[in-house]
Amino acid sequence: MLEYCDPPAGISEWRESRESWDSHSFDELDAKRALASALNGASAKAKSIGIEERFNDLAAVWAHETAHLSSPAQIMMHPSYQAILGMASTDKTQIVRLMISDLKENRRPWFWALSYLTNANPVKQSEAGKMDKMIKSWVEWGKQHGLT
């Protein structure tokens, strides 16, 4: 029996053969990595779909229940609007992307929320209050930042 400090009789006794590493372990590792990556991707996609659905539901309720209002304070105090802002704390980029997309497709006025979340405001003073121009400015801003 070999003592701990005794040198091995041959190198093959303590090192796995090159063949073993190449043909099995690396392949298995790659397969596991690929599987993990696929699972992570699927999970992220599912999460993204979940966020999008929730965003759309909340946005529809918010738009319907505040459509008759003119006061920005009343509009922004709505629970669904606040819930969407809360969702941005976990995935800000995704929420900003959804807001810009919704602004473009449904003309829902996300201007204040977008400014709050992005610290940006591409709307010029001369365009204030002009829906078409404000939407255009934000959509352009989204394109420039890879969000559309």
């Binding site: 008759h68 006061s71 009343q74 405001n121 010029k124």
Partner: protein, 203 residues
């Protein structure tokens, strides 16, 4: 599309749910649903821009130099730049009546005098015109038809326009010199054409 045409049945049920007093009042729909302007802009005879006093963030227009405050007094002062002055007297009586030679607007607010809505008297005094947020422009026979609970808490939930807190008036001459009569007439003609083209809305 900024303008959306909804059926009169849908509009009626939506408005009566929002303003229960309309169910028993005389009112009609004047314009399609349009998100490009709202009540304050419509009171100022504008149909392409949204007005509200908000400081430091250009998402709504407000006349330069006018007070950036949503109190009734601040709105009255801001509208004084368009030639309006406060009507004296009781809101229900002389103030809300039609006076030849004057154009009038009414300010709706909460009990703590935070403005929520404005309506403009029809040019010949046939009622009051209200552009309800992004929804349709309606004409209601009296100011009380769209009033609701003036409590600030209910207002915070977006469920009321509160009550009429002030009525302002200006002379037709003052409106004429600011091109407002022309703007109102142009918008009225545009909406009339729209109604003729798409069928009269009856509620």
């Amino acid at each position: 599309m900024p303008q959306v045409l909804r059926s009169s049945t849908v509009i009626k049920s939506h408005f009566c749910a929002l303003f229960p007093r309309l169910a028993s009042a005389e009112w009609s729909i004047k314009s399609p649903k349009d998100d490009r302007y709202q009540c304050i802009a419509w009171a100022a005879c504008r149909t392409h821009i949204r007005w509200w006093p908000v400081s430091g963030h250009p998402t709504v227009h407000w006349p330069p130099g006018a007070p950036l405050d949503d109190s009734v007094d601040a709105f009255a002062e801001s509208f004084s730049r368009l030639g309006y002055e406060r009507c004296t007297g009781a809101i229900d009586d002389a103030c809300s009546r039609f006076e030849i030679g004057y154009q009038k607007v009414a300010i709706y607010a909460t009990s703590d005098r935070c403005v929520l809505h404005m309506a403009r008297q029809q040019f010949f005094g046939k009622g009051w015109l209200s552009k309800c947020g992004s929804l349709e422009d309606i004409q209601h026979a009296d100011l009380r038809s769209i009033e609701g609970d003036p409590s600030p808490l209910v207002a915070a939930l977006g469920q009321t326009y509160g009550e009429v807190a002030a009525i302002l008036r200006r002379s037709w001459w003052s409106a004429l010199t600011r091109f407002c009569l022309f703007r109102c007439a142009w918008a009225a003609l545009k909406f009339w054409t729209y109604r003729k083209k798409h069928g009269q809305w009856r509620v």
